[in-house]
């Protein structure tokens, strides 16, 4: 059995009176795990806790065998961590190379030649090697995002925590990034928070869905997709019974519903369908409890 590289026991986080994470229990093993959830579900807070930027208000964490509450052990975690935050700023006037080089220096790469070689390697991995000399502020949003991703990949970390890494990337860049992340998933624990369900479907074996600070689903991607079987259908017209429906490129409507009508033309569900249904079920359950 694979030993977990991350263990969370009853981890909670409050901001004043607001509970953002509510007693999470979670084990993560090496491989790529997707983290889905609506805005405000607590994804970023969870990632900030795992990247030791934020301390939990309650509960215990063990990350790569170390306790982040202890300053010395926290440093050991950080030596093995790559973190791409949701919003990554950069020091003024830096080129892409200098930005990644600066972070490499902060990650204790003291030897200049080996540091520069590593910086060139990660910039090439994200396809920025030819733009290394350009100033960060002159790069496009997607290129800046890739530079931020490059710093997370420095030193092939044991734990890679990525908050919406594909934001602003074009399809080619996203496909290329999937190659990089799947490669990283062979040797490291990769946690990928995103709103792009197709990225999770393409990359992850396991997906965690957060909602209102709690885990709504934790399991295989295929199993989650399976829960949507029989609940997605195509029709020529928009149907009021559907939870969500939209006109597709073929001119027909795709419908998703918890209780689909009978005798409909069923369609192959996607992770997005399953996610929508899971959320709708959670809302219905909460309404039922309230009633």
């Amino acid at each position: 059995m694979t030993t977990p590289s991350i263990q969370l026991v009853g981890v909670g986080r409050r901001y004043g009176p607001t509970t953002v994470l509510d007693g999470l229990d979670l084990d993560l093993t090496p491989g790529v795990t997707g983290l889905l959830g609506p805005n405000g579900a607590g994804k970023t807070t969870l990632l900030r806790i795992l990247s030791t930027v934020l301390a939990p208000s309650s509960g215990h964490c063990r990350i790569l065998g170390f306790d982040p509450a202890d300053p010395d052990q926290r440093t050991e975690i950080r030596r093995r961590l790559g973190y791409l935050p949701q919003e990554s700023g950069y020091p003024r006037g830096f080129t892409a190379f200098r930005y990644v080089d600066y972070v490499a220096a902060l990650k204790e790469w003291t030897e200049r030649d080996s540091r520069h070689a590593e910086v060139r390697r990660v910039l090439a991995l994200v396809g920025l090697d030819d733009l290394a000399a350009k100033r960060m502020r002159t790069l496009s949003g997607g290129q800046r995002r890739r530079a931020a991703l490059a710093q997370a990949l420095l030193g092939s970390p044991d734990l890679l925590v990525l908050d919406e890494p594909t934001t602003g990337l074009d399809p080619e860049q996203r496909a290329s990034l999937r190659g990089v992340l799947s490669g990283a998933g062979h040797r490291s624990t990769v946690l990928l928070a995103t709103h792009q369900t197709e990225d999770v479907a393409a990359l992850c074996e396991r997906v965690i869905v957060l909602d209102a600070g709690r885990i709504l689903y934790d399991g295989a991607v295929t199993a989650l997709v399976g829960t949507a079987t029989g609940k997605v259908w195509h029709a020529d017209e928009e149907q009021a019974a559907a939870l969500s429906s939209w006109r597709t490129g073929t001119g027909r409507y795709r419908h998703v519903a918890l209780d689909p009508p009978e005798d409909v033309e069923l369609a192959e569900p996607t992770l997005e369908d399953a996610y929508l249904l899971l959320r709708a079920q959670a809302v219905r359950d909460r309404a039922g409890v309230t009633a």
């Binding site: 930027v53 961590l81 950069y90 020091p91 003024r92 902060l106």
Partner: protein, 303 residues
């Protein structure tokens, strides 16, 4: 469980020192490339190099021509250009590093050590000011200063202390830039600090015999030795020799204060202890400088 061996402490300590110097070099290069500092340093070099050859700052200040030669104003150059320039530049550099946000907060080098690296980089303006001071000393060796009615009499120790004040002001200004960026993150904090420093320095030039004014004169991070009017020259009270270690104490407090921002646990306790120690030393130097120095006096007064 995944088990990862923790590096033995001695090895980690050696590595930490290397990391610190590596980062300090990095920050020093950032300072040397910062446009604000480049402009300030160029102006300093330009004026500092030409000053000894100008009538304004001729070291040979003649008693017969009182009120015209003020070469002991020289330390104001590093204080103004390198101190204030360093303050603004280091403040921008420190704030700019903070813009990297969670990326910087998740690296193994802790906040206090990153701050210490920034503080070490502040030695760059101090080194430049020191070179300037050495240049003036060389000039004085060739053309020794004579005592003037305008400035009063100075011992060699006082002259050295006076020049050291310029160097310490260049260092302290830059350190203050780091301190302000660490604690006050609003955009104009550095500019406001510069204005306050200038106002404080100007307020320390008040010509009167009063212990509080003397205290203010010695306490001001940079202040001139004499204040010249049309018909008088007022020599400030307070000891120049004690003022130099007082300024050094302020520099130490700035480093401790800046590093304390993200410190926790044992390090924080150590920094608090160090702050008490350095604070005590600084206050003692300030009081000694106020009490042990000469009273303020008119070196000449034709009113």
């Amino acid at each position: 469980m995944t088990t990862v061996a923790v590096s033995p402490a001695p090895v980690a300590q050696v590595e930490e020192r290397r990391v610190l110097w590596c980062l300090a070099r990095y920050e020093a290069l950032r300072l040397l490339r910062h446009p604000l500092f480049v402009v300030a340093a160029l102006l300093f070099v330009l004026i500092a190099v030409t000053t000894p050859f100008s009538e304004y700052a001729n070291a040979d200040y003649d008693t017969a021509a009182h009120g015209t030669e003020t070469n002991l104003d020289w330390p104001v150059l590093p204080a103004f250009f390198l101190g204030l320039g360093g303050l603004l530049a280091m403040n921008r550099i420190t704030s700019s590093s903070g813009r990297a946000g969670d990326v910087v907060r998740s690296v193994p080098v802790p906040g206090p050590r990153r701050t210490l690296a920034l503080c070490i980089a502040c030695l760059v303006p101090a080194a430049l000011a020191l070179l300037g001071a050495a240049y003036v000393f060389v000039f004085w060796m060739v053309d020794p200063p004579v005592q003037s009615e305008n400035w009063g009499e100075f011992s060699n120790a006082e002259l050295v202390a006076l020049m050291a004040q310029g160097v310490l002001a260049a260092l302290g200004g830059s350190l203050l830039g780091v301190l302000v960026a660490r604690w006050w993150r609003w955009p104009t904090a550095a500019a406001v600090t510069c204005v306050l420093l200038i106002l404080w320095s100007v307020s320390s030039l008040a010509p009167d015999k009063n212990l509080l004014l003397t205290l203010n004169h010695v306490a001001a991070p940079f202040s001139l030795v004499a204040s010249n009017g049309e018909n008088y020259s007022w020599h400030m009270g307070g000891s120049l020799v004690w003022k130099a270690p007082y300024l050094l104490g302020l520099c130490g407090l700035a480093v401790i204060g800046a590093c304390a921002r993200d410190a926790e646990g044992q390090l924080r306790r150590r920094l608090v202890r160090a702050a008490w120690l350095v604070g005590g030393f600084t206050v003692a130097c300030l009081l000694a400088g106020t009490v042990l120095g000469p009273d303020g006096f008119y070196s000449w007064d034709h009113r």
